[in-house]
């Protein structure tokens, strides 16, 4: 029997990040996955980042994760979304070359010290004395470990639907995983079922691009990773086409043959990623929908038609595609499909992503009811790091709603559970003006350094950057001007006789760097990147200061844990309804209890009081 400290099951986006994080912490780690060749596979859309998701990639990067660097190597079209809106809601996104992404991820992992890759399918868990002790493979091999992270994606009892075809599968062409679900159920966990879908893939040679709108990426492209100085992979264009009334008619008259609409699929899919059938039924007043034609790679003739996810039979898919401009003679390389799979109710997890029912077992990615590569990778990083920290006997890394999108996501998952596949949006973050993609490193890298998750290269890079920012900030706050001086330089402030710092002047939307340098030539010493960052901070300063009290209140409540021994049924004064809600929701902190509908501040006070008394009793006995 082979022994590791940490075992990661699954080489998808969650698994790669988990394996890399565990190994970065210096812990002997194994990544067990079906096939080495599918490590880093993008099951669906060949793109990384976007609104909310781009924020997650920057956070992964800030904790020295791999996704940002790999995407920078594989990206073939970079665009910052919401460029015309404020910096808080800008999200970096890149179209990726599917093959380059896989290759870059595989070489990244194979070069990672402390990490071994094992091919095989995990069929069961080894449990000893109520703790995880290892895993058993389908071929009979057994590996032992102190901690295990499951990142099995859409594979658990995966079932593909296309028209009336049903194929047990984890992904097109790959078998499902059946054993693990049984084991998870035997642990008494609630499993749910969700679904998602993917569009057909098209042959680029069969498309008439000449009649289509071209969409060009940003120039110069903005990388994801703080460690990437420039994007060197060649950049390409995407194209736009649209559905037509004729295509809609074809879909409408064949709805009965769609797996979704014939009633064969009952599980919930994501509302933000509806199938084309769904769009046409729910928004029948629209006679056309935009479709992006995205190349899957530089030397890959496969085109991903973004916006056409479907579970219609292949002949109908071909018919409606051919009713669209540029696609009159299109050839399908692989038909679209919907897939149903098992997931674990994430309310079973603790904030470290460990299952409360089985110490040592961590879950990350689609298995927790999320969707998307970035969501999976971010959870993987945290679960992998915490598995390794646990193996080392160290305290877990816990993130907060107040410092990261990752913290928001985990809090949402463990306190509310999911009813549809969970995806990140910026609107989920109440401290959105603070949680920006431009300052992820300032929010998280020091935390990562603190637990040993950040390698030397990034540590040095980070320290330099922080030193430059600090110097810039102190210069900007030290230099002050009278309203007269400011107005002379073109900054239109009130003539109220109050001196304002350069930092304050920067908060006026119209202030240009050149205006300030006219007053203080020494500001030219601040490098462009730092200056840009400081200007953003200045712009939101009023709001950020105002939110500080809220931030602290949330942090205080997040830090107040509700111990397992607390029995709501015994609390005096709580209504039965409130007791039941608390028992069902199992809040782990006061912050979570607060989010349960109908729980009053007085009830929280009572809970706090009883906890405090319990602690005193324990100390006394």
């Amino acid at each position: 029997m082979t022994t590791y400290e940490v075992i990661i099951v699954g080489g998808g986006h969650a698994g790669c990040e988990a394996a890399a994080a565990s190994a970065r912490l210096g812990v002997p780690t194994a990544l067990i996955t079906h096939r080495r060749a599918t490590i880093g596979e993008m099951s669906c859309n060949p793109a990384i980042g976007g609104l909310g998701k781009g924020h997650l990639v920057r956070e992964i990067d800030a904790l020295d994760g791999v996704m940002g660097r790999v995407a920078d190597k594989a990206g073939i079209q970079f665009r910052v979304l919401n460029r015309r809106k404020g910096p808080a809601v800008r999200g970096p996104r890149a179209q990726a070359d599917r093959k380059l992404y896989r290759e870059a991820m595989q070489s990244e992992l194979s070069e990672t010290p402390n990490l071994e890759i094992v091919e095989g399918e995990v069929d069961d868990l080894v449990v000893e004395h109520g703790r995880i002790a290892g895993v058993q493979l389908l071929d009979g091999r057994v590996f032992s470990a102190r901690a295990v992270v499951l990142t099995t994606g859409t594979f658990l009892r995966g079932l593909i639907h296309r028209g009336d075809e049903m194929i047990p599968a984890g992904r097109a062409g790959e078998g499902p995983v059946l054993g693990l679900s049984l084991r998870l159920e035997a642990l008494g966990l609630k499993l749910g079922r969700l679904k998602t879908g993917t569009p057909p893939r098209l042959d680029a040679h069969s498309i008439n691009f000449a009649v289509l709108n071209e969409q060009i990426g940003d120039n110069p492209p903005e990388p994801f990773s703080a460690l990437t100085s420039a994007i060197t992979t060649p950049q390409i264009s995407c194209f736009e086409t649209r559905t037509t009334p004729q295509a809609h008619a074809i879909i409408s008259s064949n709805l009965g043959r769609s797996a979704m609409y014939s009633g064969r699929i009952s599980s919930r899919g994501p509302r933000y990623c509806p199938s084309i059938e769904d769009k046409i039924v729910r928004f029948s007043d629209k006679d056309s929908h935009l479709v992006f034609l995205e190349p899957e790679g530089l030397d890959d003739p496969t085109i991903y038609p973004n916006g056409l996810s479907t579970s219609l039979p292949e002949d109908v898919q071909l018919a409606f595609l051919r009713a669209m401009p540029g696609l009159e003679n299109v050839v399908i390389k692989r038909a679209g499909y919907a897939i149903e799979y098992d997931h674990v109710d994430p309310r079973e997890l603790s904030p470290s992503l460990m299952l409360r029912a089985l110490p040592g077992l961590y879950l990350a990615g689609q298995i927790n009811g999320t969707t998307g590569y970035e969501e999976a990778a971010a959870q993987g990083l945290l679960a992998g790091a915490n598995a390794a920290l646990a193996a080392k006997g160290a305290a877990p890394l816990i993130l907060s709603r107040t410092n990261s999108y990752l913290g928001v996501m985990i809090d949402d998952l463990i306190s509310r559970g999911v009813t549809e596949p969970y995806r990140m949006f910026t609107s989920r973050a109440e401290f959105r003006l603070h949680l920006r993609s431009d300052n992820a490193d300032q929010r998280l890298t020091d935390l990562g350094i603190g637990v040993g998750l950040v390698g030397q290269e990034r540590r040095e890079h980070h320290c330099e950057r922080m030193a430059r920012l600090d110097a810039g900030k102190s210069l900007l706050t030290r230099l002050t001007a009278t309203p007269n001086e400011a107005r002379k330089a073109g900054v239109n402030v009130n003539a109220d006789g109050v001196r304002r710092s350069a930092f304050q002047l920067l908060s006026y939307p119209t202030t240009q760097r050149a205006d300030l340098e006219a007053i203080w030539p020494e500001l030219a010493d601040i490098d462009d990147k730092s200056f840009e960052q400081l200007a953003i901070d200045a712009q939101y300063a009023v709001y950020l200061d105002r939110q500080q009290a809220d931030v602290e209140a949330v942090q205080r409540d997040e830090a107040r844990e509700i111990p397992d021994w607390l029995d709501y049924a015994l609390l005096p004064g709580l209504s039965n309804e409130m007791k039941q809600k608390l028992i069902d929701a199992k809040p782990q902190t006061i912050a979570q209890a607060q989010k349960i509908e109908g729980v009053t501040p007085a009830a929280l006070t009572l809970i706090l009081a009883v906890i405090r008394r319990g602690r005193l009793d324990k100390k006394a006995s």
């Binding site: 479709v291 959105r432 009290a549 602290e552 501040p601 008394r613």
Partner: protein, 436 residues
């Protein structure tokens, strides 16, 4: 400034003999010192006149006690004001206190919570909490029931819908700007919709008074020069000789409240000392109280009489004033008076009563109970209205506008229910065709 300073009326509902207002937190002492003109020695009660620092107007007189941290109920700086238990007076003091930066009204259980956090409650007190909670939820339930019926719940529902629509529109532009179905520009009516919501909040705020009047009673102050006939009118309105009447100017020294029922409405009539320059200390104090009663009243009846020299009528106060010419049996009424009466003419008194009844009815506006009748709700509504105002100013900076709208819904959470991201997303996905 990390921790807010909390203030609350901690002695139960007013009117009552004495009202205890408690403050705790970093700003408590600064706020109390500003009202009381300095701080007394720690833990020693001291009689002070409390004044509004904005204009020097006296608010009330009362005992002030301060308890510096950590030897206080909550473990933070604490202050206690023991004042007269009149609803209007307490309300005025609370408004002045919450006008300080960083001072806000405490929510249910806040003080107790702070006390826990700072290790100030012992185990027996913890046992008592269960009862406290039961009482609190019962009263909240009753309050919620009376609040959210019929027309009111419809209005609350409208606000909720309006806020959801507004937030969904703007969040769609932030989270789904790359979608075909989401245009860049906000809809043309977006600004008008925020303004309309802001107006509705302002309207509800205006009704705050009617809620208070229904709950606490309508306050009428009888005021004017000595001997104008104020106490006589009080007796006539009350239907009994509750106040001393003599022909000596300066008979009434202290204010006197009499409660009467007018068409089912609670009315509190306050007799006051006649206003004049005087050397008598007791009379001077009476005149201070008379002025305060005028300031706190919902309506002032200003009495003038043919046999009394007229003095300047009160000016620059928001309260409506009726000029009442009394003693019409001995001389002509002033030409510009609103009302003329005589104790000898019982009919003139009934006419006054019925005019008062009509007036109070219009002041309550409708028979609909006020949506907000508590200072805490009022504060939330005012804050939300301010957030909406900011949202309008930030319409070109969508992430700030969205932030303002989020804060407005947080403020209104107790009135309209919590609107969280999931609700916004539900609304958004129902309205926009989103998803590639």
């Amino acid at each position: 400034m990390t921790q807010p300073t909390l203030v609350a009326l901690s002695s139960g509902s007013v009117p009552s003999g004495v009202a205890v207002i408690r403050l705790t937190g970093p700003q408590s002492f600064a706020a109390v010192a500003a009202l009381a003109g300095g701080l007394p020695r720690p833990r020693q009660a001291s009689l002070r006149t409390l004044k509004d620092p904005a204009n020097g107007q006296p608010l009330d007189q009362g005992l002030v006690i301060v308890f510096p941290a950590p030897h206080s109920f909550t473990g933070l700086d604490c202050a206690e004001l023991q004042v007269h238990g009149s609803p209007a007076g307490v309300k005025a003091i609370l408004s002045v206190l919450t006008a300080f930066e960083g001072v806000r009204l405490a929510g249910a259980g806040d003080f107790t919570r702070l006390a826990f956090e700072n290790g100030k409650l012992d185990l027996t007190e913890v046992e008592g909490l269960g009862d406290l909670l039961a009482a609190e939820t019962e009263s909240q339930r009753r309050q919620a029931l009376t609040r959210f019926d019929g027309a009111l719940s419809r209005r609350v529902g409208d606000w909720r819908q309006a806020l959801l629509d507004l937030r969904a529109e703007i969040e769609a532009r932030l989270d789904f700007s790359d979608e075909d179905d989401v245009p860049f520009e906000l809809p043309a009516h977006f600004k008008a919709d925020i303004e309309s919501l802001e107006n509705q909040l302002a309207d509800a705020l205006a009704r705050y008074d009617s809620g208070r009047i229904v709950r606490e009673g309508f306050r009428i102050a009888l005021a004017g020069a000595p001997n104008a006939g104020k106490s006589s009118l009080l007796n006539a309105l009350a239907g009994s000789d509750v106040a001393i009447v003599t022909s000596e100017a300066g008979t009434t020294r202290d204010t006197k409240d009499v409660t009467i029922d007018l068409g089912g409405m609670l009315v509190i009539v306050t007799d006051t000392a006649g206003l004049r320059e005087t050397d008598s200390l007791a009379e001077q104090e009476g005149i201070v109280r008379a002025r305060r009663a005028i300031g706190h009243a919902d309506l002032v009846l200003w009495l003038e009489a043919p046999d009394v020299e007229t003095i300047p009528r009160p000016q620059g106060i928001d309260t409506p004033i009726w000029i009442v010419s009394s003693k019409t049996d001995i001389g002509a009424a002033a030409p510009d008076s609103d009302f003329a009466l005589s104790m000898k003419d019982k009919d003139s008194i009934s006419v006054l009563l019925s005019k008062l009844e009509d007036h109070i009815k219009t002041r309550i506006r409708t028979n609909e109970p006020g949506l907000i009748s508590h200072l805490r709700d009022k504060a939330a509504l005012e804050a939300a209205a301010e957030n909406l105002h900011q949202a309008i100013a930030h319409i070109g900076i969508p992430e700030l506008c969205a932030e303002d709208l989020r804060q407005a819904s947080d403020q209104l959470a107790e009135l309209i229910g919590l609107i969280d991201t999931e609700h916004v997303l539900d609304r958004l996905f129902a309205g926009f065709c989103i998803g590639k």
